[in-house]
């Protein structure tokens, strides 16, 4: 799938991003096919969030390019990236705590001016997450973590994005809620035709939900493939899914080759 670059809505080529002197992204390339759901997996500090920040223009890359719908958006101003159709659900939800749910959603549509369309999308969000309709007049800081995550996703949808980038939507939520939210993300992906780029630590749910996956380690892509294949991969099984292969004496295998970088 990744070899076929022609239908990629987003292509990232060899980006290198730094935090001061620290190189967080060491030449990452990835492609997101239009209408698909792609996940980037990795442990803490692997650089997952930095990739999203680089794509959305919050951070600048020193090298490489980001292409969206065939146009170069490398290091573009965040507001212009949103206008082009990339909307982000930031890590840790980051709702506006003292604004009401409805006002939060209104801010998601800040760059839009079509009243009818905004209203239509508002109804769509309320249909996906009925609890938000009930809480529309309540301030967002009073919502539970799960409801805030739903609000953050809806707020990102309010800009009517072509690509929805989610940064660890499972963070701090109960397993049941994670499953519910991922199911809705998948439904949004299918029903609205929104391409989804999902950055996750929870490999199990991410691989079971998405179409295609990349595995990131210390700033590099070490593995990629269709999610169904990745689920069968021994290294992914051992390091990301926690399924260990026990030897005859019940010890961990030492000599089996890991992914080499």
């Amino acid at each position: 799938m990744a070899k076929d670059k022609s239908d990629a809505i987003l292509s990232v080529r060899n980006i290198e991003t730094f935090y001061g002197p620290i190189m967080a992204i060491r030449g990452v390339s990835l492609d997101v096919k239009k209408g698909s759901m792609v996940t980037v997996l990795g442990a803490n500090g692997a650089g997952k969030s930095t990739i999203l920040k680089t794509i959305s223009g919050i951070m600048d890359t020193q090298k490489g390019t980001v292409t969206f719908e065939g146009k170069n958006i490398t290091n573009m101003d965040p507001a212009r990236v949103v206008k082009r159709g990339i909307s982000q659900v930031p890590e840790g939800r980051e709702v506006f705590p003292l604004l009401t749910v409805a006002e939060n959603l209104k801010m998601g549509a800040y760059l839009r001016h079509d009243r009818a369309g905004i209203h239509q999308d508002l109804e769509m969000c309320y249909d996906y997450f009925p609890v938000l309709r009930e809480r529309a007049g309540q301030i967002a800081g009073q919502l539970s973590g799960g409801q805030q995550q739903m609000l953050a996703i809806s707020r990102a949808l309010m800009s009517r994005p072509k690509l929805l980038a989610l940064d660890e939507p499972s963070l701090g939520l109960s397993p049941l809620l994670v499953r519910e939210i991922f199911a809705i993300i998948r439904r949004i992906n299918k029903e609205q035709g929104v391409t989804v780029l999902l950055v996750e630590q929870n490999a199990n749910i991410a691989l079971h939900t998405a179409d295609y996956g990349y595995v990131l380690e210390v700033g590099r892509i070490v593995l990629e493939g269709a999610c169904a294949d990745l689920l069968e991969n021994d290294d992914v099984k051992e390091f990301y899914l926690g399924l260990k292969d026990h030897g005859v004496r019940g010890k961990r295998r030492w000599k089996k080759r890991k992914v080499w970088r």
Binding site: P78, A79, P90, F96, P97, L99, E103, M107
Partner: protein, 328 residues
């Protein structure tokens, strides 16, 4: 021992509060006669009017603080520039008072936006201390620069007003038109600001940018431009306050000293709360006016800080202050 001091502080605070609000009750119980009550109410009215000016200056400081987490120590100088602009439009150019007031507020707003764009924005990312020092520095420069402008200089001026320095009576209380105008303007301005922040897209975006800057960037809100607009708004309010302060302190280069009443007002209300700034300003105004009248004249100058001290000891978060914690 600390406990004992706290009790002592509470007794002092309680006793002063009782002293300040007692006259109406004393009158009801026949301890004082109606003329004494009228004198008291007279002081309260003028205190409210002065307090409204403090409130508007504090409001400007709080607006900027909430949005950018910068404390603008030059708010007083911006007020002074506003007063000089009003003086220029109304006295020198001979414009209609109301038109001149509007132009002066607009002009001051432009000055505020300029300060943000030229001085503050390049400083973004520097330590908060550095930014605060820059605002203090701007204050000094502004004071000197204004004194060098031909026609302004270091003299004191009075702005010509359509209403004479006259009074009308309400019951037995005499209210000057200047005081009435201050209160009316403050009420209208607060209502307008409330509606603006509550119902307009720009107002909500300003709140959003100050509550969560990063998320505002993600929504495509032009955060930097929004901050510049907030500086403009805050400076415009300060400009109006300067115009209203002019009948009492006159227009001169040091009239910005009024911030030393506005800072206690902002802290008293709970730094970061807009209703708090208004209420805090009015309380400071009343306390000042009453203590200046009933106690030694010198007490007037320290009254604001005595109140501030009591509040900081007993309720450090201020009257309307709330500690918001982020949920993760």
């Amino acid at each position: 021992m600390d406990k004992a001091f706290e009790v002592l502080w509470r007794i002092i605070a309680g006793a002063s509060l009782v002293a300040f609000v007692s006259p109406p009750f004393l009158f009801l119980f026949g301890v004082i006669d109606s003329s004494a009550l009228m004198l008291y109410l007279q002081q309260v009215v003028s205190g409210v009017a002065n307090g409204c000016v403090y409130a508007l200056v504090a409001l400007g400081i709080v607006l900027i603080y909430k949005a950018t987490e910068t404390i603008n120590f030059a708010q007083g100088e911006i007020l002074m520039i506003g007063a000089f602009l009003a003086f220029t439009f109304i006295n020198i150019l001979g414009m209609n008072f109301w038109l001149g007031a509007l132009l002066a507020a607009g002009g001051t707003a432009l000055v505020g936006m300029g300060v943000d764009r030229i001085i503050i924005r390049p400083m973004v990312g520097q330590p908060a201390f550095a930014i605060v020092m820059v605002t203090i520095g701007f204050g000094f420069v502004a004071r000197s620069a204004v004194s060098m402008v031909p026609g302004w200089g270091t003299d004191s001026y009075a702005i010509e007003r359509p209403f004479a320095a006259d009074v009308f009576t309400w019951g037995e209380i005499a209210i000057s038109y200047d005081h009435a105008m201050i209160v009316a303007t403050t009420v209208v301005l607060c209502a307008a600001l409330f509606l603006f922040f509550r119902y307009t897209k720009l107002g909500i975006a300003m709140q959003a940018s100050s509550q969560n800057q990063l998320a505002a960037y993600y929504m495509g809100i032009p955060v930097r431009q929004i901050f510049t607009l907030i500086w403009g708004l805050s400076a415009g309010v300060a400009g109006l306050a300067g115009l209203m302060l002019a009948p009492f302190t006159f227009v001169h280069t040091n009239m910005g000293m009024v911030v030393f009443r506005a800072f206690p007002a902002a802290v008293l209300g709970g730094f970061g709360s807009i209703p708090g700034a208004i209420v805090g300003g009015i309380i400071i105004g009343i306390v000042e006016s009453l203590s200046g009248f009933y106690l030694d004249e010198g007490i007037k100058n320290v009254a604001a800080y005595v109140v501030l001290l009591l509040v900081l000891v007993l309720k450090p978060e201020g009257i309307f202050g709330v500690v918001h914690r982020k949920k993760v």
